[in-house]
């Protein structure tokens, strides 16, 4: 009986991974687009009706909850050289309106 070449299962494995990757990168976004669009419409309507300005991502401090509305010295709330003590402050930049002026 002829034994299987080592490269055959490897090539099949890589081809299968490639197909999965292709399906995830191109097919999955297309198939889930309708669902995501519906949810997006609901969120956009809420933003419009309630006049919301920020995403609810970091709720630990007021200047991380409403990033775009933060005071001029945020994220270093008390004065420009104050040490930041909230973990999310190390992940985000100050509001763009502040550092773009410099």
């Amino acid at each position: 009986m002829r034994s299987v070449r080592k490269s055959t299962p490897y090539l099949i494995f890589i081809a299968l991974c490639g197909v999965c990757l292709g399906m995830l990168l191109w097919l999955h976004p297309a198939l889930s687009a309708r669902h995501h669009q519906d949810v997006l419409e609901v969120k956009r309507r809420l933003v419009l009706e309630l006049r919301l300005t920020d995403l609810c991502l970091f709720t630990e401090a007021r200047y991380t909850r409403h990033l775009s509305q933060a005071d001029l010295h945020s994220a270093f709330q008390d004065h420009p050289l104050a040490l930041e003590h909230f973990p999310s402050g190390s992940m985000v930049r100050p509001p763009v309106s502040l550092w773009m002026r410099q």
């Binding site: 070449r5 080592k6 490269s7 490897y10 090539l11 890589i14 991974c17 490639g18 999965c20 990757l21 995830l24 990168l25 999955h28 976004p29 889930s32 687009a33 995501h36 949810v39 997006l40 609901v42 969120k43 956009r44 809420l46 933003v47 419009l48 009706e49 309630l50 006049r51 919301l52 300005t53 920020d54 995403l55 609810c56 991502l57 970091f58 709720t59 630990e60 401090a61 007021r62 991380t64 909850r65 409403h66 990033l67 775009s68 509305q69 005071d71 001029l72 010295h73 909230f86 973990p87 999310s88 190390s90 992940m91 985000v92 930049r93 509001p95 763009v96 309106s97 773009m100």
Partner: protein, 378 residues
């Protein structure tokens, strides 16, 4: 066909050689996959989040006007509404009433807000899904608040926002104006800020200038600034991403450098034997090329597949603890799958190409030597 058969023969040999050192190569692939996984998870998350924020906040107010006192955001007198409305080009001005409410039982901060049209009775509230999840003391549909002067207020939950809208509503509590003023202590005649609608988008900067001239204590924030803030939120240059990526990239370079400089005695002997039995330098380089491709391509594909599943199916669970910080309430959200083909291509060339090169280079030096010397050194 002959060329393909020849390459497959090289691959057969390379895979047998890798299989002989399977535990070493398996750990190599594991580490490599983890590096690709972390970097591509960050790229996928940042890209998808940026798109989501842009789409969700596209209808945010064109301008928000705050009042600054002592360098801080302060309550704005509602008399400012008429002043802003009087500026040519302004379509409408709404005084927004919103603030924060700290609930000691859950240890969490919530956003309390008065919508323009609140269709329920005064004792009713609408809640975000996250509020219900974390509040802790909801009894039936009754929810207890403490007013600014210490009184207890019992309100009825009449509506809970869908969990799918958590990204904008997770900590939101909507209530009537009298109840808001009672809880927050914001006096009549004051609002938190003003939301301004502008007739012509092109005039927004001129209107902002006119507002600051008419009311020097006012601070206008344009929608484009809000969008830019979120576009740069998880930017490559932002602190956390930089730390995360530099760690991963550094680990990868150390790993690749070790591979490039550390050719084992066993590998040297193998090259010497192959040269001795008649393989030429090009053949040896070719098997090492396939070895580099085999390891890096496998790691790349597995890393990208895992990161896609992590970000778009598991809602980036591993990032949750970092993003959550000290907050009790973290929204549950699913990001719309968006993958930038260019970024993926860059990631491919930054991971697969350098590793393949560093595998081939040290072998090239050894394979050009006399087989007898190579075997003796090995």
């Amino acid at each position: 066909m002959k060329w393909i058969e020849r390459q497959r023969a090289f691959m057969d040999y390379t895979l047998s050689s890798l299989w002989r050192r399977k535990s070493k190569n398996a750990s190599l692939i594991l580490v490599y996959t983890l590096v690709v996984f972390v970097i591509s998870s960050v790229i996928f998350f940042a890209g998808a989040f940026k798109k989501e924020a842009e789409a969700v906040l596209a209808d945010a107010p064109e301008m928000i006007v705050q009042r600054m006192v002592g360098g801080r955001h302060d309550l704005i007198p509602t008399g400012y509404v008429a002043k802003v409305k009087g500026i040519r080009g302004v379509q409408s001005v709404t005084a927004r009433l919103w603030g924060y409410y700290y609930h000691p039982a859950s240890g969490s901060n919530y956003t309390i807000m008065v919508p323009e049209n609140f269709p329920h009775a005064d004792h009713a509230v609408e809640l975000g899904h996250g509020v219900l999840r974390t509040w802790g003391t909801v009894q039936g549909n009754q929810i207890y608040f403490r007013t600014h002067d210490g009184e207890t207020l019992v309100l009825s939950v009449v509506k809970v926002f869908e969990a799918a809208t958590d990204l904008v509503t997770a900590d939101l509590i909507l209530m009537s104006e009298p109840v808001f003023r009672k809880i927050s202590g914001v006096a009549e005649g004051f609002a938190t800020d003003l939301a301004v609608r502008i007739r012509n988008e092109q005039e927004r900067r001129t209107i902002a200038e006119k507002i600051t001239q008419a009311m020097p204590d006012a601070r206008p924030i344009l929608r484009e600034e809000i969008l830019r803030t979120y576009a740069s939120l998880f930017d490559w240059r932002s602190g956390y991403m930089l730390v995360l990526l530099s760690g991963a990239v550094l680990a990868f370079f150390i790993f690749a450098w070790d591979k490039a400089t550390g050719l084992s005695a066993e590998e040297r002997t193998e090259i010497g034997i192959l040269k001795g039995v008649g393989w030429d330098t090009a053949d040896i380089l070719m098997i090492k090329f396939w070895e580099g491709i085999g390891i890096s391509l496998t790691s790349f594909v597995l890393g990208v597949l895992a990161s896609y599943a992590h970000v778009f199916f598991a809602s980036a669970t591993l990032f949750e603890h970092a993003l959550k910080g000290w907050a009790v309430l973290y929204p549950a959200f699913t990001l719309r799958p968006v993958v930038d083909a260019f970024q993926l291509a860059v990631l491919f060339f930054l991971t697969v190409a350098p590793y393949t090169l560093v595998t081939v280079l040290p072998i090239w030096k050894v394979s050009t030597m006399d087989p007898d010397i190579v075997m003796r050194q090995g």
